[in-house]
C-alpha cells in the first residue's frame, strides 16, 4: 500500500502541485447492543479506502475512493487536482503550510486484550446479565447496554516525504435504565450517559469499568428519580461531577479553542468562537485555578494517537494557564496565523473525509480538593451528576446543560435528590466562578465518541481528563 501511495504522490509531483498527501485507512468496528434481554445489534463492519488531499495554486482539493487499486487511487488523485483548480477560482490568499518534519514511523496504541478476540458470548453474556439485573423491578421500563470496539490501520504519506503507519485500538461500553411509573419517565446510566465510557485501550478497559458492581445503584436511583422533586429555579453554588465536567470542557473550551472555528471556517454549521485571536494572552477565561491542556499523549485517552492526519507528532499544548487564554488547537494551515507551528490536532473520521482541527484529550488539570471535603465545605448548593442534555450558542458563550440526577447540598452534606436538573451560564463568567477543583484521586479521562463537526458531518473520538469542580452562584433549574 505504501508503494501505491508513493507512486500516486510522485504522479502528483509531476503535475506541479504545491503539496499533497494520501491517507489509507482500514477501520474495523464491532458493535453490540442489548435491550431488555434481546441482542438488538450485533454487527461487524470493515471499511477501507484512500483519501487524497491536493494543494494546487494555493487552494485545496480532496477526493476519496473505496478502493485500494493503484489505478483507482491515481484517478482519484486527478479528481482531487481538478477540484483544487476549481477552488483556486475563488482564492483570495494562497494557503501556506507551517513547516513540518517529515516523519517515518510506525505507532501502535497499547493494549493487553484484543476485544475482537474476546468471544462474542462473553461480551453479550455480560450485557445480558446487566440488563436482567436492572429489570428486577417492574418500574424499570427499559434496560439496555452496549459495547463498541474500533480497530484502525492508517498509512499517511506526503509529498514532503512523510511515511507514517498507525495501529489504533479503542474500546467502550456502558448501560442505562429507564424507569416509568405510569406517570413520569426517568433515566440513570453507568459509567456515563450516551453509550458509556471509551478509551484507546483493549478489552481490559471494559473489565476495569466493573460494570456489574454499579447495577443495583443505577436501578435504585432511576426508580428514586420518579418521585424526586424537580430542581428549583434559583441561584446556587454547584458542584459538577467528573463526567459532566468532561462535557462542560468539551463545549465551552474544547470547541471554542479550535483555531479553524476561530478563523470562521466552521461558522455555517456549528458556529464560531468568542476566543478570538486579539484575546490571546489577554482574555481572563477562568479563575486562577483553571488550567486546560490539549494533550494527545495521555496514555489510553480516546483522543490519544501517535501522529495527526497531517503527519504532525502528538503533543501537549496549553490552552488555559492560571485562567488566562494562552493557546489554541492548531493545524499546519492555521498555526502560521498566530506565528506558530501546528500542535497536531488535524484528524479525519475516515479515509473519505478531510482532516479538520479536532479535539484530542482536552484536559482540565486536577486541583487540590478531596470530593468529600469539597461537599463538606459547601453550605447551600447542588451536586450535578451525569449529562442528559447540552446546548450552547454559536459563539460558545451561553450554555445550558441538563443532567440525569442532582442532590441538594445543605450545610456540607448531600440531601434530597432532584430530577430534571439544569444549569446555565455564560462561559467566561462561569469559569471565573470556579473556586475549587478536586485532586488527581478523582481525575479521569472520559472518552467522548460522538463529537460532530464539519460538512459533510464527521464524528471524532475525543476525550477529557476532568475531576469534580465547584462553581459559585450559578443559575439552576430553568426547565419550567
Amino acid at each position: 500500500m505504501k508503494d501505491k501511495l508513493a507512486n500516486t504522490l510522485d504522479w502528483l509531483k509531476g503535475k506541479s502541485v504545491d503539496y499533497a498527501d494520501c491517507r489509507y485507512v482500514r477501520k474495523e468496528t464491532e458493535s453490540i447492543r442489548v435491550t431488555d434481554g434481546t441482542v438488538d445489534t450485533l454487527n461487524r463492519e470493515v471499511n477501507v479506502g484512500v483519501g487524497i488531499r491536493v494543494l494546487y495554486d494555493g487552494a485545496w482539493g480532496f477526493a476519496a475512493i473505496a478502493s485500494t487499486k493503484e489505478g483507482d487511487i491515481k484517478k482519484t488523485a486527478n479528481k482531487a487536482l481538478q477540484i483544487a483548480r476549481a477552488s483556486a477560482t475563488t482564492k483570495k490568499v494562497a494557503v501556506k503550510l507551517a513547516e513540518q518534519e517529515a516523519f517515518k514511523d510506525h505507532y501502535k496504541s497499547k493494549f493487553t486484550k484484543d476485544p475482537f478476540a474476546v468471544p462474542l458470548d462473553e461480551k453479550m453474556g455480560l450485557l445480558l446479565e446487566i440488563c436482567d439485573k436492572l429489570k428486577t423491578d417492574d418500574r424499570i421500563k427499559t434496560a439496555s447496554g452496549s459495547m463498541d470496539f474500533f480497530k484502525y490501520n492508517k498509512i499517511f504519506c506526503s509529498t514532503e516525504g512523510a511515511v507514517i503507519e498507525q495501529d489504533l485500538l479503542e474500546s467502550g461500553g456502558g448501560y442505562e435504565a429507564i424507569s416509568y411509573d405510569g406517570n413520569d419517565v426517568q433515566k440513570r446510566s453507568y459509567p456515563n450517559s450516551h453509550r458509556g465510557d471509551f478509551a484507546t485501550r483493549g478489552y481490559e478497559f471494559i473489565e476495569s469499568l466493573k460494570l456489574l458492581d454499579h447495577v443495583d445503584r443505577v436501578r435504585e436511583e432511576a426508580i428514586q428519580l420518579l418521585t424526586a422533586e424537580s430542581c428549583p429555579d434559583t441561584i446556587k453554588d454547584i458542584i459538577i461531577c467528573g463526567s459532566q465536567m468532561a462535557l462542560q470542557v468539551h463545549e465551552s473550551c474544547g470547541h471554542p479553542s479550535e483555531l479553524d472555528r476561530v478563523l470562521g471556517t466552521e461558522i455555517s454549521l456549528a458556529g464560531g468562537s468568542f476566543m478570538q485571536i486579539d484575546g490571546l494572552n489577554k482574555l481572563k477565561y477562568g479563575s486562577d485555578i483553571v488550567n486546560i491542556y490539549a494533550d494527545a499523549t495521555v496514555e489510553g485517552g480516546l483522543g490519544t494517537f501517535g501522529y495527526d492526519d497531517e503527519g504532525v507528532k502528538a503533543q501537549r499544548a496549553p490552552i488555559i494557564k492560571n485562567g488566562l487564554h494562552v493557546g489554541y488547537q492548531t493545524s499546519r494551515e492555521t498555526a502560521p496565523v498566530i506565528g506558530q507551528r501546528s500542535n497536531g490536532t488535524m484528524r479525519a473520521d475516515g479515509w473519505n473525509r478531510i482532516p479538520l482541527i479536532r479535539m484530542t484529550n482536552i484536559n482540565l488539570e486536577p486541583g487540590t480538593w478531596e470530593l468529600k471535603d469539597l461537599i463538606a465545605d459547601t453550605d447551600d448548593g447542588i451536586f450535578f451528576d451525569a449529562n442528559k442534555s447540552w446546548s450552547i450558542d454559536d459563539q460558545r458563550l451561553n450554555f445550558q446543560f441538563g443532567v440525569e440526577c442532582a442532590w441538594e447540598i445543605k450545610k456540607g452534606k448531600l440531601g434530597k435528590m432532584y430530577k430534571n436538573p439544569l444549569y446555565t451560564a455564560m462561559t467566561p463568567k462561569f469559569w471565573n466562578a470556579c473556586d475549587a477543583i478536586c485532586n488527581k484521586n478523582h481525575w479521569h479521562v472520559w472518552g467522548v465518541p460522538n463529537c460532530g463537526k464539519g460538512e459533510p458531518m464527521q464524528t471524532a473520538h475525543v476525550a477529557h481528563g476532568t475531576s469534580p469542580a465547584r462553581f459559585r452562584k450559578i443559575k439552576v433549574g430553568v426547565s419550567k
Binding site: 434481546t38 476549481a86 453479550m124 471556517t265 442528559k388 447540552w390 450558542d393 464539519g454
Partner: protein, 450 residues
Amino acid sequence: MIGKDKIFSTFEKVAASSKADETEIVFIGNDTGLTRYANSTIHQNVHENNATILFRAVRGKKIGVASTNSLALNDLKATLKNAIEISKYQKDNKHFPGLPGPENYAKIDTYFESTAGFRPNDRARLVKKMFYRSNRRKFTMAGAFATGEGEIAVFNTNGVRCYQQVTGSSLNVIAMSDSSSGYASGMSRDVNNIDPVALADIAVEKAYKAKKPKPLKEGEYEVILEPAAVAEAMEWTNYIAFGSKTFEEKTSFVAHNLGKKIMDESITIYDDGNDLSGIAIPFDFEGVPKKKVVFVDKGVPKGVVYDRISANRMGTKSTGHALPAINSGEGAVALNLFMAPGNKTREEMLKSMDRGILVTRFHYINGFIDTPKAVLTGMTRDGTFWVENGEIKHGIKNLRFTDSIIRAFSNVKGISKDVKLIPSWWDAVGCLAVPAIHLGSFKFTGTTDF
C-alpha cells in the same frame, strides 16, 4: 453508478452460497461532492465515492449483521460468512417475524441528470456569483453547496428486489456583517431548483436588517418561527417522539397522549416517503413500502412509525420506516417529515403581530431535558428581529429558549401556506417540509452577547 442489473446479479451470486435460512443484502452507494466556503472563499472542496453493503443473515430467530464497503466478490462472500458466523452467537429475537417478501412499490422518479452531471467547477461558478452579492454590502459569506448521486438497493432471498437511483443537492448560506448575520437554504433532488443567487440575496438582506442588534430581556414573547427554525424544532421532536423506540420506552409524549387533543387543531404532522415534494424514496431498508404515517392530526397524537421487529413487538404492521440493519437498535425512524401548511402568507403573519420576535433559525437545540413534556432548548441565530405593529423594527441579540413544544404548539395564531424543504441537520438522508408558524407564546430563558 453501478446499476440495478449488476448489483442484483452480483448479490444473486453471493446469496447462492449462503448457508443462512434467509439472507438480506442492502446496498447504499454514493458519488457526492461538497464545496464549502467561508470568508467568501472556498476553503474545503471534497468528493467521495463510497458504498456500504450490509448483510443480514438469519438462522431461525437469530440475526447476524456484517458490512463492508468493497464490492469485490471475495469481500462480499467473506462478509456474508462473517454475518452467518455472528448469527451463530446470537440469542433468539422472539419478535423477529422473518424477512419480508416482495410488495408493490410506488414508481417515482428521484434521479435528475442535471444534478448527477454537476461538477466542482459548476459549484464554484455559482458560489462566486453569491460572493458578488455579499460584496456589494461589504459582507462576507459562508456555507456549503453539495451535489451528488446515489443508489439504494434491497435484496433478499424471499424475492425482494428494490432499487432506486437518486440525486440530491443542497445549499446553505450565511451572510455576515461586522455585527450581524443572515441565513438562507435550499434543497432539491434537481439542482436546477436551487437558485444560489436568490438565496444569497435573502441572507444578505437579513444580515443587513439585523445590523447593530439590540438586547432584549428573557421572557415570554409572541413569535414567528420561519421554516428553518420550525424544521430544527421538528427534527428534535421527531427524534424524541415519533420513532418506535421512544414510543415503546414511554419517553415519547405521543405514548402518553394518544387520542388526546394537546396542541392547536391547526397542527398536523406526518411522514410521507412517497411525496415528491420531499426527498422521497418508496421503500425502507428492509424492502417494505413506505406508508404515510400521521403523528399529530389536528392537534391529537395518533401514532409513530415502525419497522418489522418493533411492529411485531407492538402487535401492528411495519410502516416502512426501518433503518439499515446496522442501526436496528434505534428502531424505526421517520425520514420524510411534513407539517401541514396553513392559509397565511409570511407578510400577513407579520402584519398581525403587535409585539414579538421573528426567528430565522435555531442553533444547537437539545430535547433530552424532559421528553414526555417535549421540552426543547436552543439558541436563535442568523437573523432574530423585534417586530412591532406588524413591522420588523430592528435586529435583536440572540436568545435562548426553553419551552415545551406541546405548550408552544397549543397557542397557534397562524401557519404559512408556503412550505419549505429543509435538510436534516444530522442525517444526510433526512428532510423536513415545513411552513412558518406564528405562536402566541414562546419562552425565552436566557440571553447572549451578540
